[in-house]
């Protein structure tokens, strides 16, 4: 009796296994493999971007700091040099400035704090570059996040 029950159990297991193997395979399963790989690739990209974002944040912070420093230094330098006083004349005595444009031009050029100005313009240029780069990376980051959320349950 027990032997036949054991044998029958084996037959039942085989029948169940056969039934489970006959489960319908959905058509979309063929794409699932590629979807999984695409998803992993997107996650890898997101991971790289997250690391980049730290660097970008640090670069932004440094750039902003340098820009503020440059602005403060420029303000201090301009207020010390006569160039600020000469520049005022454009608003107060434009006709005189226009009549003596060569001498006026030279007086400005002679007194410009060139070092500080170069520092300020370089900081502004660096800020533009870093902000532009940061904006593009943030755009990529948001696109990837959106794609991730649409795929997520």
């Amino acid at each position: 009796m027990n032997d036949s029950l054991i044998q029958q159990e084996k037959m039942l297991e085989m029948a169940v296994n056969k039934s489970l193997s006959r489960q319908p395979v959905p058509l979309s399963l063929e794409n699932l493999f590629h979807k999984i790989l695409s998803r992993i690739a997107a996650e890898a990209e997101l991971k790289k971007l997250k690391a980049k974002l730290w660097v970008i944040s640090a670069a932004l912070a440094v750039t902003l700091g340098v820009l503020v420093l440059a602005l403060a230094a420029s303000f201090a330098a301009f207020s010390k040099t006569p160039s600020f006083q000469f520049l005022r004349l454009i608003f107060t005595d434009f006709k005189v400035v226009a009549d003596n444009w060569q001498d006026y031009g030279f007086s400005i050029l002679e007194t410009l704090p060139l070092g500080v100005l170069a520092f300020l313009l370089s900081s502004i240029l660096a800020s533009f570059i870093v902000f532009d780069f940061a904006a593009r990376q943030l755009g990529n980051f948001r696109k990837l996040l959106n794609a991730q959320h649409h795929g997520k349950f």
């Binding site: 159990e9 029948a15 006959r22 997520k152």
Partner: protein, 189 residues
């Protein structure tokens, strides 16, 4: 890539070979899908869970213990992902355990079983009937039977995947087979 073991493929991928990961996914994505289907009804849900499970596996690939089986590991991840999904979607897991308890009770009250007639296995409509019975099994019984018979896992591996005691898994499997037998039995038995 097909000649390498799972552990070797993991090592290769961590060493920078992308194709190793592709081979791993190719080997198990269908099995993971069908395992996820034992938790959820919709194919789309099972697909989402499968994707999520592989992403989690990829994220934790460095922590994979080469001494263990990759299959067991990915199935564990799939199970946890399914549970998270069901909790998020507020599916009633507890209803399943109630069904399981009722079935256990009815099986205990059964009288000793006689063997099924052999011609039953070859009869017309047997396959359809068996399919219906399997679909109607409580989720945990269906999972155990699927993992044992379709995925060809040992009871120990099933216990590890489902995070259940070994004896619970064995008794669940036995009860599942008993229940199937009871439902298959002709009415006069």
């Amino acid at each position: 890539m097909q000649g390498f073991t799972d552990a070797e493929l993991v090592k290769k991928y961590l060493g920078g070979e992308q194709l190793a990961l592709e081979e791993l996914v190719r080997r198990y994505f269908k099995q993971v899908f069908f395992f996820a289907k034992t938790f959820v009804k919709q194919d789309q849900e099972a697909e989402d869970i499968t994707q999520e499970a592989f992403v989690k596996a990829w994220k934790n690939l460095k922590k994979f213990d080469a001494e263990k089986k990759f299959k067991t590991w990915i199935f564990q991840i799939t199970k946890n992902t399914c549970i998270d999904y069901l909790r998020k979607n507020k599916n009633m897991l507890s209803a399943e355990s109630l069904e399981e308890q009722q079935m256990a009770l009815s099986l205990e009250q059964m009288q000793d079983q006689e063997p099924l007639p052999e011609q039953l296995f070859d009869s017309q409509g047997f396959e359809t009937q068996l399919e219906e019975i399997l679909t109607g099994l409580p989720q945990s019984y269906r999972q155990t039977v699927t993992l044992r018979l379709q995925q060809d896992l040992s009871f120990a591996e099933i216990a590890e995947i489902l995070n259940q005691p070994l004896n619970t898994v064995k008794s669940r499997y036995r009860r599942a087979l008993l229940d199937i037998r009871q439902r298959l039995a002709p009415k006069n038995q």
